[in-house]
Amino acid sequence: MDLFVIRHGVAEPRRDDLQDERRELTPEGRKELARAVRGMGRLGVRFDRLLHSPWLRAVQTADLFVGLVDGSTEVTRGLARSPDNELLGMLSGDRAAVVGHEPWLGELVSWLVTGDPGNGGLELEKGAVAWLRGEPRPGRMAVVAVLPPDILRRVKR
């Protein structure tokens, strides 16, 4: 499997009067992410399946990527908490994408690559994509590339 681990785009800052789950992408964050998605498309990236967290910034991010999905999308709370076997069980197909949040995406990558979710090491910036390859089980994947959003935005036709 090729697994693309995607952190949501730039969102409005945290505020006491705003629930974390309701934070939206900023207009600039949305524009930049849309350019990054076009860049991924120009690289020929497609997904069989896309899973995403239910939180607003992840939903909005996933929605921008939906044009790259050949199969179906699915919302899951498994991407709004620390990764677990239930989430791993949902990873299927040849090319899957997950859209979620730090620190949990970092834990997911660490778990899949080293077998230990607490191994630290990777924190994705907003709008970045970690591309993994292998079997979606602990310790059975390798990092192919980490694609920062500013690089993706620069991919030309």
Binding site: E21, R22, E24, L50, H52, P54, W55, L56, V59, A62, D63, V66, G67, V69, S72, T73, E74, V75, T76, R77, G78, E86
Partner: protein
């Protein structure tokens, strides 16, 4: 602005009723809410969450069809065979309501901001055009069941979309009802195909098939009479 809150609450309210399965209204209202929310998402240009709504509708759809069938007139033997199947069909509803995907879907829908009204109204002509395209496919294919089914879905979506932007969608209710009856005949045939094949059953099936064919012709004729109204609707939405 067009918030979806009322219909998200409607969905959340009726899910536990559908789960218990005693009141057929539960499954019916979950399906109604899911369809209206799908129309809302499409007006907003959303691609995500629609597969989740589609999954939920697929999980409950057989239960709804069976409830409608059992509420109708059936001969005693067929009803005696059919009624016990309700429990196994409703187990699927029960499992879907309890599935984590449903809770995640409700959460995601609840977090979405209202639609911008101008964006939603701007999407209406496309919905109308889709109905007209599907209507032409019906005209060309004569009375192909799949083409009719697609037209039915398009009309339903048009009705809900108009209602979301505060316009009258009820004008399409008679046409929707006619399609609904056609669907009821198709459902009856599907269940007859699964029932034990004895002589009485063969006669029942032949009768159901004739009723379906007659209804199909009626629906196509009704659509042809309604088509100019839909064309006029498109003209009214696209004239400056």
């Amino acid at each position: 602005m067009i918030p979806a809150g009322r219909w998200i609450e409607h969905l959340a309210t009726w899910l536990p009723v559908a789960r218990v399965g005693e009141d057929p209204e539960g499954v019916h209202q979950v399906r109604v809410a899911a369809r209206r929310l799908d129309a809302w998402l499409r007006l907003g240009g959303f691609g995500v969450l629609r597969d989740d709504l589609r999954w939920l509708r697929a999980e409950i759809s057989e239960a709804r069809d069976l409830d409608v069938l059992l509420a109708g007139e059936l001969d005693a033997d067929f009803r005696a065979w059919l009624a016990p199947r309700r429990d196994e069909v409703h187990q699927r509803v029960h499992d879907a309501v309890d599935h984590p995907r449903t809770a995640a879907l409700i959460e995601a829908l609840s977090l979405l901001p209202p639609l911008d009204e101008a964006t939603a109204r701007g999407a209406i002509p496309k919905v109308i055009r889709q109905v007209l395209r599907r209507g032409r496919a019906v005209d060309q294919a004569s009375a192909d069941t799949e083409a009719l089914h697609q037209l039915r879905r398009g009309l339903r979506r048009l009705r809900f979309s108009l209602e979301w932007v505060g316009e009258n969608g009820k004008r399409f209710v008679p046409l929707q009802d006619a399609f609904g009856e056609l669907n009821d005949h198709a459902v009856l045939l599907r269940w007859l195909d699964r029932a034990p094949q004895d002589d009485e059953h063969v006669a029942r099936r032949a009768e159901a098939h004739e009723a379906l064919d007659r209804r199909r012709i009626d629906v196509v004729q009704l659509w042809r009479r309604s088509e100019p109204e839909v064309e006029a609707l498109l003209a009214s939405w696209t004239s400056s």
